[in-house]
Amino acid sequence: MSQRPVRFMLLTLSLSLSSLAAAQTEVTFWNTSTDPIDLKGYARIVDSFNKANPDVKVKMVQVVGAETDSAKLMSAVAGGTGPDVYLLDRFTVAERASSGLLTNLDSYVKADAGLSAKYLPFAWKETQFKGSTYALPFDTDVRMLYYRKDMLKAAGVDLAQFDPKNGPISSKRIMEIVSKVNKTDGTGAYTQVGFIPWYGQGWHYTWGYAYGGKFADATGCQVTPTDAGVTAGFQFLADASKALDPQKAQAFLSTYAAPTNPPAQDPFITGKMALEVTGDWMIANIKEYAPNMQWGVTYIPTPDGKKVSWSGGWSAVIPKGAKNVDGAYKFIKYMTGEAGQSIYVKDTKHFPTYKSLLSVNSLYGPDQQFERALLPSSLSRPNLPVGALYWDELTRAQNTVVLGQGDPASALATAKSRVQSRLNRFCR
């Protein structure tokens, strides 16, 4: 007699649970960001999407990963426990797609007329591999030279040279101009430095582009790190390093700018470095960690007065083996669309790749107008299926040069031979 109510309860419970499961699908979103400001932005996007779409629940999980290291993602996908959505550095999309890690989005994108035109052209180009779309562009950024007015004034450097109205400072003179800021202690170690050009975002790409270099040819089948402009950019780094003394500069960076330091301890923010080439996210960091700092931005120093910058940024991808591809696409369309990008841009001070948002004035503060004007002419990295390898090789060459262990020409020739041999596999 007592069995009937129990059976009835179990029946109704199972029915209601299964109907609930049918009604709401879940999407797992893996996020590799470690910046607390960025993470807040992502969380807001997820919340607002979940509210607007009761039939899909997005769960954001923070995981380990970096621009060129996606070990966790790869092993999870290989083991069948991968996420539905992943945040991938846009310049590695072609490389990951060529490995077979990403889901081809053509069927969704083709059904969505005019989608590609909504994004900045260089950002859309980075999502393509062999004519198919493998990602949707998310944010982008711009690089420029930040300078500390207080430190420069204290050292007696003329601030007028740094006014962007006067165009970029000449890279031939920048090291000499800020050498007044360098301070050493009794043992000769730096306690304060004017400018270390290879720190922050002063990467190989920055100075290669500043000197008018090209990193790959138009066909996308030849890498050209031995190009005259790139070699000249590396020579600039070699000269700057010699001016500072490579060992002392390295010791300074090991002391004040350890790779594991949080953003609050960036030497520019802690007052150890007067100049830094870095991206627009520094604006949000300054607001958060040193709101009373007197600072300014100007163009990256170039040898010929040209205004140069380059942009990176992230994208949303659906890894292979995702369990809920439809729900995942719904989410990434939202996240990389007008709604998601405007939330992110407002919170994090990054820039959107969604074209129409660039003209929405309310999204940008007065301290972002310089970058905003710079974005349309910004360059981007070549879209190659060896993006991560090329980056690592250029970094190796750069480290060789700035530590005084090799000259630019031979370091770049080594990089070229190693990357080209791998690129040849894709261009047969």
Binding site: T68, S70, A71, A78, G100, A251, S254, Q405, R418
Partner: protein, 294 residues
């Protein structure tokens, strides 16, 4: 085999079947598939196309491979002897007849059970060129500060120093072995007019050679496979001075999407490790004493 014996054997096999399944699934199958992939251009996903010995011949044209081999051998040749000496010194220290010796033993042993990740971060602070404890101590002796992790000349040695934090567990084994040496042998040395040094050199050292062999073998294995400190502290730098073999293997597998080449690298490491281990064993007869406890 009689029926009863057969039944017993099947029963026995059933009891150890979980271990057999584990061996097949987690050791033999990965070994076999890794060997297979080393002859293909597998990226980790999709098709694995057979390319024969290409991955292996590629190694010898690869300057980064050569550098990683050099780094790893340099590190191993430095770390293994230093590790043995360190463990021995600690064991002798732990063997002192003090009242609070248990405290010291615990203190020496503790770092070897802490996660290497946490120890690496601690070392990052200790090795800070300006504010770190190591350079402060050097300064007391009027020695110029060393950029431990930023100077290519010192980076490998810094990692060797970090590895010494694990000496505690081998010291414990050395201690057990030392304690097993009969007192009568030491008394004999005293009767012959020997001092502490003679006791160590003529009695202790020869009788703990089996443990030294053990430590050398383990040290060789972990030295050739060093990865974690380089991954956390230096990212293979500066200028590839800490780009070890397994780190390069990891990069090939997960950053460059070249799982085939990474598999070939791992098999080469396996073969070299086996050859080295056999070599050490074969030559150990000349210096290892097994008649310890008379």
């Amino acid at each position: 085999m009689s029926l009863q014996e057969r039944k017993n054997m099947l029963l026995g096999l059933t009891f150890i079947s979980p271990w057999i399944v584990g061996l097949l699934a987690f050791i033999l199958y990965p070994l076999a598939s890794s060997a297979y992939y080393s002859f293909t251009d597998f990226s980790g996903f999709g098709a694995a196309n057979w390319i024969g010995w290409d991955n292996y011949t590629r190694m010898f044209d690869d300057p980064i491979f050569a550098k990683s081999v050099y780094n790893t051998l340099y590190y191993t040749l430095l770390a293994v002897p230093i590790g043995v000496v360190m463990a021995l010194v600690l064991a002798l220290a732990m063997n002192q007849r003090l009242r609070e010796v248990a405290l010291y033993r615990a203190a020496f042993y503790l770092p070897s059970v802490l996660p290497i990740f946490a120890l690496s971060f601690v070392f990052l602070f200790l090795m800070n060129p300006r504010y770190g404890l190591f350079n402060y101590v050097l300064g007391l002796f009027h020695v110029a500060p060393i950029n431990w992790l930023g100077d290519p000349k010192w980076s490998k040695f810094s990692i060797v120093l970090l590895a010494q934090l694990g000496a505690g567990q081998y010291a414990l084994i050395f201690l057990a072995s030392i304690k097993a040496i009969p007192q009568t042998l030491y008394e004999a040395v005293e009767l012959d007019g020997g001092n502490g040094w003679h006791k160590f050199w003529y009695i202790t050292l020869p009788l703990i050679t089996p443990i030294i062999l053990y430590d050398v073998m383990i040290g060789l294995g972990s030295g050739l496979q060093i990865l974690t400190p380089a991954y956390i502290l230096t990212n293979g730098g500066p200028v590839d001075s800490t780009l070890f073999y397994v780190y390069y293997l990891y990069k090939n597998a997960f950053s460059f999407g070249d799982m085939g080449y990474a598999s070939a690298l791992s098999w080469l490491l396996f073969i070299v490790s086996v050859v080295l281990a056999v070599l050490v064993f074969r030559t150990s007869n000349r210096w290892v004493n097994y008649e310890a406890n008379g």
